[in-house]
Amino acid sequence: MLFFRSEERVNEWCRDGGLPRRPLVSLEQLWQLAVAWYATRLDRSSRRPGPDEMRAIFARVGLLGPFWDPLSDSFGA
């Protein structure tokens, strides 16, 4: 999960490294994920989201499809 200055830089990076171009996430979406995962991390009751919760969080921030499904078998899991 890496920062890039622009989509063009991502495309160059994938091309240069022979890597598949995967979904992009905006800064605002990333912030919402950071809050969902970590806002309670230092609390006694905190825990990592389970698969259903993960799907719901991703859907809420507009990240849909098998790429974001933690139990998807579309990528050889």
């Binding site: 995967r22 912030w31 825990r47 899991a77």
Partner: protein
């Protein structure tokens, strides 16, 4: 039967040490904090790893990740107050101010050009900045190699 409260105390000892000092505690420091033996803490570490809130080095005792914090230096630095933390990835870089409930500066770089990327993160989110985040690994495979992810 493992005591879930013990694992919670171990987890909190790790995270609070990281939050307070910016560095990962040693096994001995955690053992002293929770008043347990090193072997008991090691067993707690193993359970926390299975619950995906802790990643250890191959020695089984050195903390590599307690997400969003990194136990080793990375390209993602986060300044909060007078402290500077290392984060594991772009997501975790925003996760540090989110976890600490405090504003901070994320200092990272564009992975392709190397251009510095500086984000100012308020308590309600980052200031707008031209950048995008690329997720190279599908969610189902994140923990197959979490260090690469």
């Amino acid at each position: 039967m493992p005591d879930p409260d013990f694992d919670t105390r171990v987890k909190l000892a790790i995270y609070r040490h990281l939050a307070d000092t910016t560095r990962a505690p040693s096994l001995q420091e955690v053992a002293e904090c929770v008043r347990a033996s090193s072997s008991q803490v090691e067993e707690g570490y193993a359970r926390l790893c299975r619950n995906r809130v802790l990643v250890l080095e191959s020695d089984g005792v050195t903390i590599r990740m307690a997400p969003p914090f990194s136990g080793v230096a990375t390209q993602h630095r986060v300044r909060v107050g007078d402290k500077e933390y290392f984060a594991n990835c772009a997501w975790d870089a925003l996760g540090v101010p989110a976890a600490l409930h405090a504003p901070g500066d994320v200092l990272s770089r564009c992975e392709q050009s190397g251009e510095p990327i500086h984000l100012y993160v308020h308590e309600n989110g980052p200031d707008p900045e031209p950048c995008v985040i690329h997720f190279a690994v599908p969610a189902a495979l994140w923990w197959k190699d979490i260090v690469y992810t």
